[in-house]
């Protein structure tokens, strides 16, 4: 597309953002978004993409730089200011009020955008939008009852309702199924065809190439290239994203993984027998699940999200009480015991959500080290007194050995990128030298290299002798690292597969059962 004769809708000029603790998220980034185009903002996790669009949407203030909307300089003190200038952000994790209905959330946003529309008018607008864009949703449903994809739909409806001329989509496909992804990509194009400027953040090259006219690549906070789709070459984009050296390293990681020694399988480290677990609304989410895992083995649990995996994981880590059945870890029965019993047995836990579940936001990495090791025999705690010096040393060792990009152990955990957070979490759990490592979607939302590193670490740990239970929605990942895969469907283990895996059968078990 030739943008020479068009005036940009949104211009970011020399944007720099330095977070507390000295993390430079954006460095001197300048970018124009034109009407009628989809601009893909490509980059690995931690490249500064989310920070950049958060600045454009008024969520974060830049340390330096200027924002222009239709050529006019603006200062955003809040997202409301940005909304009133026609900028809408569809965040990676929907930011809706759970206790409000869909309609109430939409009325709220219409008011925030300065349109004093009542509930009836908004309902009518919603019906029109549903017809026009095919985004059907029950307006009376409470947000807490919606699936992730539906919540995202509400976020998109928010943008449409305020008739945003600039729509910023932050990693919108992370939690969507392939069919949902297709729909979203065509919707994105439709929005651009109507004359809106759309920014589509992704770390998936294929998506960027499918949806965008121009692709802007960010690396380590800087904008390294902007290429039009017709001139884009995959190898060139990859080298922009990672740098030549890192691509070489990545290839080596994969090669090395294939040649990694496997440990000797001996004792059963996890035994689950006829486990029944209730979900948050009282219904049985896990219905008689059974499995066995030996040391030095990676057992993958496959399944479409919402088939009881989360409840199963919560029961295994000791924060959800099973109604029936038995869990035994490293030879000790722990069915009715809490998470501290797992901690004492040296079980490593890598939960799905990094912030809030694996790390305490607003607290330092040292603090999070102590919390992670709280009930473990390797905790830097003697007679209830915390040895902060020892804790700092452990945190520093984790940062160094896992190459976590953080200024130091006193860095606020919240200020790290997703990949660095996860590396720190994995490092902390491996410090326990666990007999069993329980992980749920450990690479979700991570870029290719970060995900590869995490998988590499898991495999090394298995080679050391730990049994690893990997619950993941990413079938490719499971196939790559698991020795065995069980498929969970409607709360039951319905299929078990051994290497070499027959992917068709696994996929069939996931969808048909």
């Amino acid at each position: 597309m030739n943008n020479g004769d068009k005036r940009p809708l949104l211009s970011l000029r020399n944007i720099t953002k330095i977070y507390p603790g000295g993390v430079v998220a954006n460095k001197d980034v300048s970018l124009d978004i034109y009407p009628g185009e989809v601009l893909a903002l490509l980059g690995e996790n931690g490249a500064g993409k989310t920070t950049l669009v958060s600045i454009a949407a008024g969520l974060i203030k830049p340390t330096e730089g200027q924002i222009l909307v239709r050529g006019e300089p603006v200062v955003f003190n809040s997202p409301r200011d940005a909304m009133r200038k026609g900028i809408a952000l569809v965040p990676q994790n929907p930011m809706l009020i759970d206790n409000f209905t869909v309609l109430e959330n939409l009325v709220l946003v219409s008011r925030l955008a300065g349109k004093r529309h009542g509930i009836r008018l908004v309902r009518r607008q919603l019906e029109e939008l549903e017809k026009k864009y095919g985004l059907s949703i029950n307006p009376s449903a409470y947000v807490w009852s919606l699936s992730f994809g539906e919540r995202q739909k509400v976020e998109i409806l928010k943008a449409l309702l305020i008739d945003a001329s600039i729509v910023l989509l932050d990693e919108p496909t992370t939690h969507l199924s392939p069919i949902e992804v297709d729909k979203l990509l065509s919707l994105t194009k439709q929005l651009a065809n109507e004359g809106r400027g759309v920014v589509f953040i992704t770390h998936r090259l294929s998506e960027a190439l499918r949806v965008a006219e121009r692709i802007a690549v960010m690396r380590r906070g800087r904008l390294v290239a902007i290429v039009s789709r017709k001139d884009a070459r995959v190898d060139q984009l990859l080298s922009y994203m990672f740098g030549e050296e890192r691509i070489k390293r990545l290839t080596e990681i994969v090669k090395r993984r294939r040649s990694l020694p496997r440990g000797v399988r001996k004792d059963i480290v996890l035994r689950v027998n006829d486990l029944w677990v209730r979900g948050p609304h009282g219904e049985f989410s896990v219905r008689g699940a059974s499995l066995e895992l030996r040391s030095a083995e990676v057992l993958g649990v496959a399944g479409i999200a919402g088939n009881g995996q989360r409840e199963f994981f919560e029961a295994l880590i000791g924060i959800r009480k099973p109604s029936r059945g038995m869990i035994s870890i490293c030879g000790v029965e722990v069915t009715s015991q809490g998470s501290s019993a797992r901690g004492r047995l040296g079980v490593g836990i890598i939960p799905e959500d990094r912030l809030g579940w694996a790390l305490v936001p607003g607290k330092s990495l040292v603090f999070n080290t102590v919390l992670g090791l709280y009930s473990s025999p390797k905790a830097p705690i003697r007679f209830s007194i915390v040895d902060w010096r020892a804790a700092r040393k452990i945190a520093r060792d984790i940062i160094r050995s896992l190459e976590v990009k953080a200024p130091g152990p006193d860095t606020n955990a919240e200020s790290l990128s997703g990949g660095n957070m996860q590396r720190f979490i994995v490092g902390r759990e491996l410090y326990k030298a666990p007999c069993l490592l329980l992980a749920m979607n450990p690479t979700s939302g991570l870029d290719v290299e970060a995900a590869e590193k995490i998988r590499d670490l898991l495999l090394k740990e298995a080679a050391r002798g730990a049994g690893i239970l990997l619950i993941s929605e990413d079938l490719d990942e499971l196939v790559e690292v698991s020795d065995r895969i069980v498929v969970m469907s409607k709360g039951r283990m319905v299929y078990e597969a051994h290497r070499p895996f027959n992917i068709d059968k696994i996929a069939e078990a996931m969808t048909v059962s």
């Binding site: 507390p20 880590i317 924060i319 809490g338 998470s339 501290s340 797992r342 901690g343 004492r344 836990i349 939960p351 959500d353 912030l355 809030g356 579940w357 694996a358 790390l359 305490v360 936001p361 607003g362 607290k363 330092s364 603090f367 102590v370 919390l371 992670g372 090791l373 709280y374 009930s375 473990s376 905790a379 705690i381 209830s384 007194i385 915390v386 902060w388 006193d410 606020n412």
Partner: protein, 335 residues
């Protein structure tokens, strides 16, 4: 500078700036009094600089500081009790009962036992709030408020009933040998505050308490008992507030009198001081001193003809300024 130290330093800077700002505003507002801005400023400054103001503030400092430092601990765990008022009162009742009716003499050991007993009763009262929250899911703000009213009822019943002496609704004063000096009283609560600070900073419970408030799921996942943390916090909070009540009785009150529905108010002032002190027991001690000084300045200023409501408004300005400046300063420190 590490994060913990930076928070304290920026908090202290904010405290000083807030005080300076509020004193300047107060001096300007003095124009609305009969003394005029200049006259009022003179009295305000001389009153603030006077040693007497600070010494006369110390008896109030004792119960406020005990409440504030203990509440700071509770609030750090997200346990928003307002029960210090009732715990201070029952602590005083417990100390009185043990010394006057059971031990009946005023040796150092007896006084120490009485103070510890006051703490124990406070702990049980605090533990009740924690137990209701953990066991039945009762909101701690409501249950602690109700328990405060029950404590007021207990005092009023005792002074008008079984413990009444003479024709008034009050108990007999404690004999002269059953008491402690002001310096001892201050020392007791300062040591208690210091121990609470060390408890938060150096024990694993400090990690548990912060995690329970900031990321309950993370706390649960890695083996922190949510229920046990809340019970421990509730017991300690009640214990320290109860000690405050015991010390208050032995140093200042000497006898129990009937109270109105608002209670003595020290526990409620403690809530303010806990937040002003940035939910740090040491910060809460400093904030308690500020509030106690303002409290004692009231009578001095009234002597000069400044109305009580004007003084109350000034107190509010000072408290708000300090809160605003400490918050701003700590945020700046985090940037």
């Amino acid at each position: 500078m590490n994060a913990r130290l930076r928070g304290l330093v920026y908090g202290a800077i904010g405290l000083v700036l807030g005080l300076l700002f509020s004193v300047l505003v107060s001096m300007a507002l003095g124009a609305f009094t009969s003394l005029g801005a200049l006259g009022f400023s003179k009295i305000l400054l001389s009153s603030l600089m006077s040693k007497d103001t600070w010494i006369s503030a110390l008896p109030y400092f004792v119960p406020i500081a005990a409440s504030a430092s203990s509440l700071a601990l509770a609030y750090r765990a997200g346990f928003i009790t307002i029960g210090a008022e009732g715990q201070v009162m029952l602590g005083a009742v417990a100390a009185y009962w043990l010394l006057y009716y059971v031990i009946e003499h005023g040796s150092i050991a007896a006084i120490m036992v009485a103070i510890l007993f006051a703490g124990l009763v406070g702990a049980l009262y605090g533990g009740l709030v924690g137990g209701l929250r953990v066991g039945l899911g009762v909101n701690e703000i409501l249950s602690s408020l109700m328990l405060n009213y029950i404590a007021i009822g207990i005092v009023n019943y005792l002074v008008a009933g079984p413990w009444q002496q003479g024709g008034y609704t009050r108990t007999a004063p404690l004999p002269a040998n059953m008491g402690i000096g002001l310096s001892v009283a201050v020392l007791v609560v300062v040591i208690a505050g210091l121990l609470l600070e060390l408890f938060i900073v150096f024990t694993k419970y400090g990690v548990a308490i912060d995690s329970v408030r900031l990321a309950r799921k993370a706390a649960q996942t890695y083996g922190v008992g949510i229920a046990s943390t809340i019970i421990i916090v509730a017991l300690i909070q009640g214990f320290v507030a109860g000690i405050g009540g015991g010390v208050l009785l032995l140093q200042l009150l000497r006898q129990l009198r009937s109270v109105g529905l608002g209670g003595w108010g020290y526990g409620y002032m403690g809530i303010l001081a806990a937040w002003l002190g940035g939910l740090r027991p040491l910060g809460a001690l400093a904030a308690s001193l500020l509030i106690a000084v303002l409290y004692s300045m009231r009578s001095t200023l009234q002597l000069y003809g400044v109305s009580d409501s004007f003084v109350l408004a000034l107190e509010a300005i000072i408290v708000l300024s300090v809160l605003a400046f400490t918050t701003l300063s700590i945020r700046r420190g985090e940037k």
